[in-house]
Amino acid sequence: MSIFDKIKPQFLETDSGTGPAKNLFDYRRIWRKAVAVLALVALVPLCVLAFIDYNVTRHSLESETLLRTARTTSNARRTVAYFLEERTKALDFLAEHQGIDKLRDCDNLAKVLESLKSSFGGFVDIGIIDSRGRQVAYIGPHDLLGVDYSTQDWFENTMSQGTSISNVFLGFRDTPHLVVARKVYDAKTDKVYILRATLDTGQFNAMLTSLDLSGGGDAFLVNKEGVIQTPSKTHGELLKKVDLVDIPEFSEKTSVRQVRTTDGTEFTVGYAYVLGTPFIVMVVKETAAMLEPLKAIRMELLWMLSLCVAAILIVITWVATYMVNKIYIADQTRARTLHRMEHTNRMASIGRLAAGVAHEINNPLAIINEKAGLISDLFIYRKEYAHDERLLANINSILDSVSRCGRITKRLLSFARHIDVEMASIVFKDLADEVVDFLRKEAEYRSISITMDIPDDLPEFVSDRGKLQQIFLNLINNAFQAMNDGGSLYIAARAITEDRLIFSVQDDGCGIPEADIKRIFDPFFSTKKKTGGTGLGLSITYGLVQELGGTMAVESEVGKGTVFTITMPLKGARKA
């Protein structure tokens, strides 16, 4: 026997049956329903809560990454803006205090460049350009005196706006640099000049690469056309178009977007326009890398959820199984009790009816008896009536018939009487004879031979006579139904120990299949439902045997026959 067989609930084996009560007794259906409803009620809120919790966490994490990116971008913008503003103001200061004459003096200009380099840093060279775009004074590492700048953007911008900061470009010297320029008005000559300084992009680069970018981000500058101005780690080469999507419209505020590149990677990109310059600070981070903590949270959540679901399912299944089994057992007990009561009631009714009939018949029978007896006496005792043998014989046959009728009514009465009786002292042989007498006629018609093997010296015992009769009658009836005409029934009784009596009813009928043997004592189990069997006979018999404190066993072989063996206590039978 496997473990499952041991823990298997009893109701699993049941047959739901047919008819209107089908659903009422379909325990597997009840069980399935209970498990489904309980699981639904318990698991749906759990899953919904887990889902909501996960979403809330994800949203807060996402908005936090956006905020962090925005903050980093703003900081970078501020740093860049400050750096450039500082250097523009330095040019302003020079223009105010030195005047164009002094600045055109190359020696002085060299001194100025030296002090700019030492105090601010980042300056590469410095020059003065007249209003036609020609460089009229220059100090720096390159030989750029006399170069014509009139066609360059920054020149035009400076002439029109007063100051300008150029894009990073390669220019005449073929290294990336940027130009800071300021228009200077010479009051003496009434001419316009431009003070121009070149800034080293190295300082820019250092500033941006030193930003603290957790999770391997990238920070660089682009201009309004999206051309990369400072080196980027992964998003394109210097002075090439950035590989990320379009640059957003001008905005004073920092903006953050989620951007998907053509290869499907999602990036969180922060943009910030640096005011007064052509630059835009871009901070690019891979979204997946930033949402790394979310993965851990998701795993933890999933793990907890599956653990809870498993625990809930186990508990629900256990509870449902337990409850349905309880219902099943209660139903079985109820059905057995109800039908035993019904049976007892019916037997009592039959008993009362029999007693009534017997009583009604007994009185006329007694009169017939006496009258016939009187006639017989008259013939014997009175001389005026001839001693007619033929008449006497007739009267005697009347008397015989009356006494036969009397025996029948007496047996009927005794049978009916015992239904109400509780405990009585019983001689088993008499009881068996009495019961078998009832069925002897049927046995004769069907030529079933009945063999009784009951010793005379069986001890008398105290038990409920009516119940014992019913048990016996049911078993013999059952055997009759199992047998074909011409079968043989064998009834035996023995006192196996001092306090136990064993008796068996053996037939050579159709037998019981192995699969049904376990269920023959269940109420409503019947193989003869179509021919009007109720499936109650054996269940009632079983109940009665238990009430009397006995045990009942069955052995059967299909086609060979069946033996029912009942062991009854001889003393101290449990009061039913």
């Binding site: 007693a355 017997a358 009583h359 007994n362 009185n363 029978l365 007694a366 009169i367 017939i368 008896n369 006496e370 009258k371 007896g373 009187l374 006496d377 014997i380 005792y381 009356v402 006494s403 009728c405 009397g406 007496k410 009465l413 005794s414 009916a416 009487r417 015992h418 109400d420 009786v421």
Partner: protein
């Protein structure tokens, strides 16, 4: 020896009385308890054979009344009803009990038996 038969079935009891007469027992009969008490007051009966179930006065009640006035009287109950409680009540009263229909010889034997007990 005189015997008193009491049964509500006149046909039965009259025939029974006549048959007892043939067997040497003087039997008087009546079909109700009141007459039985009256007759017992006039005549000395050794044995009374009473039907259990009779209209107005049943066998047990009649027995009590008769026994009160005639302490020496013996009783035999007859019944067409095989009720266990009747049987027990009859036996408790210390009497014999027969179920109808009876063999007259059984009754005669029983009468002789209960009287014989008295004599011995």
């Amino acid at each position: 020896m005189r015997v008193l038969l009491v049964d509500d079935e006149v046909e039965l009891v009259s025939a029974m009385a006549e048959r007892l007469g043939y067997r040497g027992l003087d039997a008087d009969w009546t079909d109700n308890g009141e007459d039985a008490i009256r007759m017992a007051a006039e005549t000395e009966y050794a044995v009374a054979v009473l039907d259990m179930k009779m209209p107005r006065m049943g066998g047990l009640e009649l027995r009590e009344k008769l026994a009160f006035h005639h302490p020496g009287m013996r009783f035999i109950f007859l019944s067409g009803h095989g009720s266990e409680s009747d049987f027990k009540a009859g036996c408790a009263a210390g009497c014999s009990y027969l179920i109808k229909p009876i063999q007259l010889e059984d009754l005669v034997d029983m009468i002789r038996e209960v009287v014989g007990e008295e004599l011995s």
